[in-house]
């Protein structure tokens, strides 16, 4: 891809050419734009054929926690919006300092007034035989991740050479992806540059417990294989099979371009405090530079460098003074933090806390009453505080006795108050290490109107990457906004100042009959609401006015409008109802015929004992439903905030343990309750004995049959937060079980907030409240049951049949079709 940087004739600005489209290059441009957006015309050259992304987040991509889109820092819109020309996938191959031009690999020549080199670093490949075999890779860019993911798909053994930060993150990701991983580390303990022996040992144990093989003190002799990698042989003769070898033994500043151009190069490209190289027209920043004898391979120094560089470019020189670095390992579930110097030297004193049973190890190194280093394992909450004290060179003699217990104790509180801890941080304390955002920047972004976590993430990017600082950002929101975020009822959405309960009460009290009327009378701030409040209002009106309210299709989520479940490719899945999980040859034949006739690529048995037909096109839905209807099947409502399924076991009819006819009761319950709209989806199960094969105790309403009757359970959930049901009561007859179920559903329909499942609803109102209405109040229960059955008399019409007969055809057919070829002909 070749984009010639266009220079309008009128553009007489100096031309800044940036070599490197990575974190340093783009951050430097961001800092420059923040200071003076108009000063330079900017062109960025990148070796990779993609936009600027967060390289340190490649590990979560490998681990499957993020996708590439999640780690993009600046998308194509950023380049366009700021008038930056991007040449991606065509790296700069040479610099001519005399002519002030750069030449790319494809031969593109671009002249510059100022040149910024941000080429980063190259992975170090250990010079052993076999290092060039296919299947031997580094872990540096998105292509490497793609290679690893492809290898992981094939399964098998992987060897990671290098037990440092990057190597362990690669090993973790590959292990999560199902490969059998061996880590080969030359040194006696893992991450020896960041961790002391004790923490390294704890880390090794934790990784081994997760199934990785960790070989320390292991020296690679050769990589073997014919045509592709097959294994790694150690110097002691051990042979480890591998279909993938990842070399993560270190990085070297990428200096070839600068050296060829005759710039002063030591370990890195040598720069002064303003990131200027030996040529005043050429700057350099990031991992490729050497400043004051130091090279850096972590992200934090880069933010400092970019600030100094941008200050220099707009002639407000500040000067870079070097960075103190800290490290966090991004392996989920294993918390490791390290900062500063922990190699005990003269005059250094160690303060150590070990809590073996919790797997916690903390070590703070103090010299002349100042913190010079910290190593934390297992509990890293105070990492930021220690790092802040370290960077500010604070005198800690007064805190010393309590220092190791963390900020909350040292501050005298005793009990940990996370808000106080955040409040005590200085303005330049770093909150988000991934994006280099300080406390001061977060606070100012909140002050400018970012009043939610999402808004903060969207503006200053704090906590938008690995998310480990989310708690800190939330505390800053609470601290900065105080009661403004905390107090007041939670409103339905941004369109109203009323909460769900207020709106429902007013709908009934004022006898409101339509969504526009509710919006008018309750002073909605938007003309026609939003995608949060409209479906809620539609449901509340439907529930309040059974048989009377005209459902507003445009306020339904797509699944409820199309009576099928939208899938990520835009096709739909279709689940016909099978009462109580029972089926028969006619139904199965009809389903099989539909699958073949409409080329459905997948059929799946669901958790609720139904068959789910995938990959049906929107246009084909009515015909599919007609075919299913013909075999006697109706909509399974697998798409709705409605009764989903009644799951059953075979019960007393077949099972030697069965105490009651659980299948028969399940069918009756489903016949009674199908088609009813609810605040959220609703699942029922009936088990024929306490062995509970139908898993009734994680359902919204569960029946467990016993010899003497029926135990009724409510408020269970098998989703993100598993919640076992509460026992509502025990009843003697099947009819009572049905009646209590109807009453419970109606109480939930009338009182829960839209999108609130029974589990959180019961936790909010309390089981006693539910018992008082369903168990202890016979009249109330009977009234609830009667209201439910009345409502059901209007809702048990198969929506599929109506659509199959041609109703609302516009939902399924395109308005027009257009064939470009015919047009041209």
């Amino acid at each position: 891809m070749e984009h010639r940087a266009l220079k309008p004739d009128a553009d007489t600005r100096e031309h800044l050419v940036v070599v490197g489209n990575g974190m340093a290059g783009c951050r430097a441009v961001e800092e420059l734009l923040a200071r003076d957006p108009a000063r330079y015309r900017v062109t960025i050259f990148g070796a990779e054929p993609r936009v600027n992304y967060n390289r340190i987040m490649l590990s979560p991509v490998l681990a499957g926690e993020k996708c590439f889109d999640d780690i993009v820092i600046n998308d194509a819109g950023w380049y366009a919006d700021n008038g930056i020309a991007l040449v991606a996938g065509d790296p700069v191959a040479a610099i001519d300092r005399a002519a002030k031009t750069v030449t790319t690999r494809s031969g593109l020549v671009e002249s510059y007034d100022r040149l910024l080199i941000a080429t980063g670093s190259d992975p170090f490949i250990i010079p052993v035989p076999g290092k060039d075999l296919p299947g031997v890779i580094a872990f540096r860019d998105m292509d490497d991740v793609d290679t690893m993911l492809a290898a992981a798909d094939a399964g098998g053994d992987a060897v990671v050479i290098g037990g440092g930060l990057l190597g362990l993150e690669a090993a973790h990701g590959l292990s999560l992806r199902g490969m059998k991983v061996t880590v080969i580390h030359l040194m006696p303990t893992l991450m020896e540059r960041q961790l002391d022996e004790a923490a390294g040992w704890l880390l090794k144990n934790a990784l081994e417990a997760r199934g990785q093989t960790i070989l320390t003190g292991a020296d690679t002799a050769e990589i073997i294989g014919t045509g592709k990698v097959e294994g790694v042989r150690l110097k002691d003769g051990t042979l480890i099979p591998a279909s993938l070898v990842v070399m993560a033994v270190g990085i070297r500043p990428s200096v070839a371009l600068a050296r060829d151009a005759g710039l002063a190069v030591g370990r890195g490209i040598q720069v002064d405090d303003h990131m200027v190289t030996s040529d005043p027209a050429v700057l350099a920043v990031g991992e490729c530079v050497e400043h004051d004898g130091q090279v850096y391979g972590l992200v934090a120094p880069l933010w400092d460098m970019c600030r100094s560089l941008a200050d220099g470019l707009v002639e407000q020189h500040s000067g870079y003074r070097g960075s103190v670095t800290s490290t966090k390992l991004k392996v989920s579930g294993i918390d490791v933090f390290s900062a500063g110097d922990f190699s005990a030297g003269d005059g250094c004193e160690d303060i150590v806390l070990r809590d073996a049973s919790r797997g916690v190890y903390k070590r703070v190194i103090v010299k002349d009453d100042r913190i010079v280093g910290a190593v934390l394992y297992g509990d890293t909450a105070d990492g930021g505080w220690y790092f802040d004290l370290l960077k500010r060179q604070e005198d800690v003699s007064d805190l010393r006795d309590l220092l190791i217990f963390g900020q909350a104790f040292a501050a005298g509180g005793g009990a940990a108050d996370p808000k106080a801890a955040v409040a005590a941080l200085s303005d330049d304390a770093e909150i988000c290490g991934c994006n280099g955002v300080t406390k001061g920047q977060v606070v100012s972004c909140i002050a400018k109107g970012a009043h939610s976590l999402d808004a903060v993430r969207g503006t200053c990017k704090a906590s938008a990457s690995c998310g480990s600082c989310t708690g800190l950002v939330e505390n800053l929101l609470a601290l900065t906004l105080g009661d403004d975020v905390q107090s007041g009822p939670k409103t339905m959405c941004k369109c109203t100042s009323f909460g769900h309960d207020d709106v429902r009460r007013e709908i009934v009290a004022q006898g409101m009959r339509s969504i526009p009327e509710v919006m008018q009378k309750l002073h909605w701030t938007t003309p026609d609401g939003c995608s949060s409040c409209r479906p809620a209002l539609n449901y509340y009106l439907l529930c309040a006015l059974p048989g009377d309210y005209v459902d507003d299709q445009q306020s339904r989520f797509v699944n409820e409008r199309l009576h099928a479940n939208i899938q990520k490719d835009g096709t739909y899945s279709v689940v016909p109802r099978m009462w109580g999980g029972l089926t028969n040859p006619t139904e199965l034949r009809a389903i099989a015929d539909v699958v073949e006739k409409y080329n459905a690529p997948m059929v799946k048995v669901t958790g609720g004992q139904r068959l789910d037909i995938f990959g049906i096109k929107k246009e084909d839905l009515p015909a599919v439903w007609a075919d299913l209807n013909a075999a006697g099947m109706v909509s399974g409502h697998a798409y709705g905030k409605a009764l989903r399924t009644v799951k059953t076991c075979v019960g007393s009819e077949w099972c030697r343990f069965g105490t009651q006819d659980s299948t028969g009761l399940g069918v009756k319950l489903e016949r009674m309750s199908w088609g009813s709209w609810m605040p959220h989806k609703f699942k029922i199960a009936v088990s024929g004995c306490p062995r509970n094969c139908a898993e009734a105790t994680i359902k919204d309403f569960g029946v467990v049959c016993v010899d003497s009757g029926y135990e009724l359970h409510v408020g269970g959930n098998g989703g993100i937060h598993v919640r076992a049901t509460d026992l509502l009561c025990k009843v003697a007859t099947e009819q009572e079980a049905m009646d209590y179920c109807a009453a419970f559903i109606q109480l939930y329909r009338e009182e829960a907030r839209y999108l609130e499942r029974t589990a959180p609803w019961i936790e909010r109102v309390g089981l006693d409240y539910v018992k008082a209405h369903i168990v202890e109040d016979d009249t109330g229960r009977e009234a609830l049951r009667a209201r439910f059955l009345y409502s059901q008399s209007f809702s048990q019409h198969d929506p599929w049949a109506q659509r199959a007969e041609g109703a609302e055809a516009e939902h399924h057919a395109p308005m027009a079709r257009f064939t470009p070829q015919k047009e041209i002909a």
């Binding site: 969207g458 995608s531 308005m815 470009p820």
Partner: protein, 114 residues
Amino acid sequence: MTTTADWLDIGWLDQIPARGSRTVQVEGGDDIAVFRTAEGKVFALLDRCPHKHGRLSQGIVHGGAVACPLHNWRISLATGEALGDDKGCTPTVPVKIDGGRVLICRASTIKAAA
């Protein structure tokens, strides 16, 4: 389909429900989603959310925006830009009403099919 050099006639305005949308199928390309707001304004976008390519035509139309059915991104009908804190843009297709008929830009539609 009636066409001119510049515009494609796709049908009557009242075929599109208020606060709803219809699609124009483009062979070999993404569908075009044609929206009609509560106020009666008509907009057309490529039927593809910039986030994960959800079908915007299936979303809830509110004010001058549509909420994508997949992850609830809000997309401006006028500009195709993601609203709020999300970033991304869906191509727009010029549209006009003439005598109750809805016309969409021929060149943009062909481009969408490319």
